[in-house]
Symmetry: C2
Subunit: 143 residues, 2 copies
DNA sequence: CACTCTTCCTACCAACTAAGTAGGAATACT
DNA sequence: AGTATTCCTACTTAGTTGGTAGGAAGAGTG
């Protein structure tokens, strides 16, 4: 799995919003950029994606900023990854299920689907709240 | 997970070698390229990697070609992927364990490690022989 | 030896994507 | 009116990916 800078920044920003906006108040992009060391103008594009995906709510003007649209324990890592990165698993740019194999390679499709399922299980069962309290779910790092 | 053309071709080539060289005879690069529809000169570079990784044995000259160094049930999909693609999981280009988070993002490292473990479990438990007989292992495609 | 076949190896090219920047328009509050 | 902030588009830059070209080196055959 390749986690792009974009995906990584998106997760860090979401965590910072969740942590900073505890009482429902708004967090500014500039503050997120500083506390997580992310280039501001790059971050703005990412925040836009997150808002379009319905994960963030934004407000302009003097006391503007961003806030989560749902409580932190109802937003998973998978939600964030899919919002900024598209499909979790791709084969030569295509979604796993339509890789188009023939001959002896036919069995590969099932492998990619199994991998996809394994990744989804992890990222869809971990919420932002899990990560903040940090006794998260029982994912034993196997290597 | 992003499966590059290079990784995909490598797996298909290995499967074709395993299938074609059943009795221990050598399979030519040109034949692999044709049967799996892979650009020949691109494939040659990939075969070189596979040989350097110790998965293939090659022979030059008139009756040259490639053969597996181990039986097909002792070579896993993970072996092939690592031979041509390096680490299975990277975060912004770095291996998962040294992503370097601070503040509220600290918990992310564990997520990437869990994902890495989940992927490794799948690809390291599937052998080339599994894929050829095609009743492979019981990976239920979950999504 | 001369010839042929095939792997080996290096260098190169084109297209794409990722990462980051710049600058202004729209909106909200005072 | 003025200021602060999000919003949005276009652009630049650098690296990676996919693919090509051309020959050197080795292995067998007559």
């Amino acid at each position: 799995m390749y986690v792009s800078a974009r995906s990584d920044y998106a997760l860090r920003a979401m965590l910072a919003v969740a942590a900073g906006g505890g009482g429902g108040e708004l967090v500014k992009a500039a503050s997120l950029a500083e506390v997580q060391d992310i280039p501001l103008s790059f971050l703005q594009g990412i925040l836009l994606d997150l808002r379009r995906a319905g994960l963030l709510h934004s407000h302009r003007g003097a006391d503007g900023g961003y806030a989560l649209t749902r409580p932190a324990d109802e937003i998973t890592v998978g939600d964030v990854l899919r919002a900024v990165g598209g499909s979790l698993t791709t084969v030569r740019g295509l979604p796993a299920e339509r890789a188009g194999y023939h001959g002896v390679a036919a069995g590969l499709t099932d492998v990619w689907l199994a991998v996809h399922g394994a990744i989804a299980t992890v990222v869809d069962s971990t919420t932002l709240a899990n990560l903040l309290t940090h006794h998260s779910t029982d994912h034993a790092p196997t290597t």
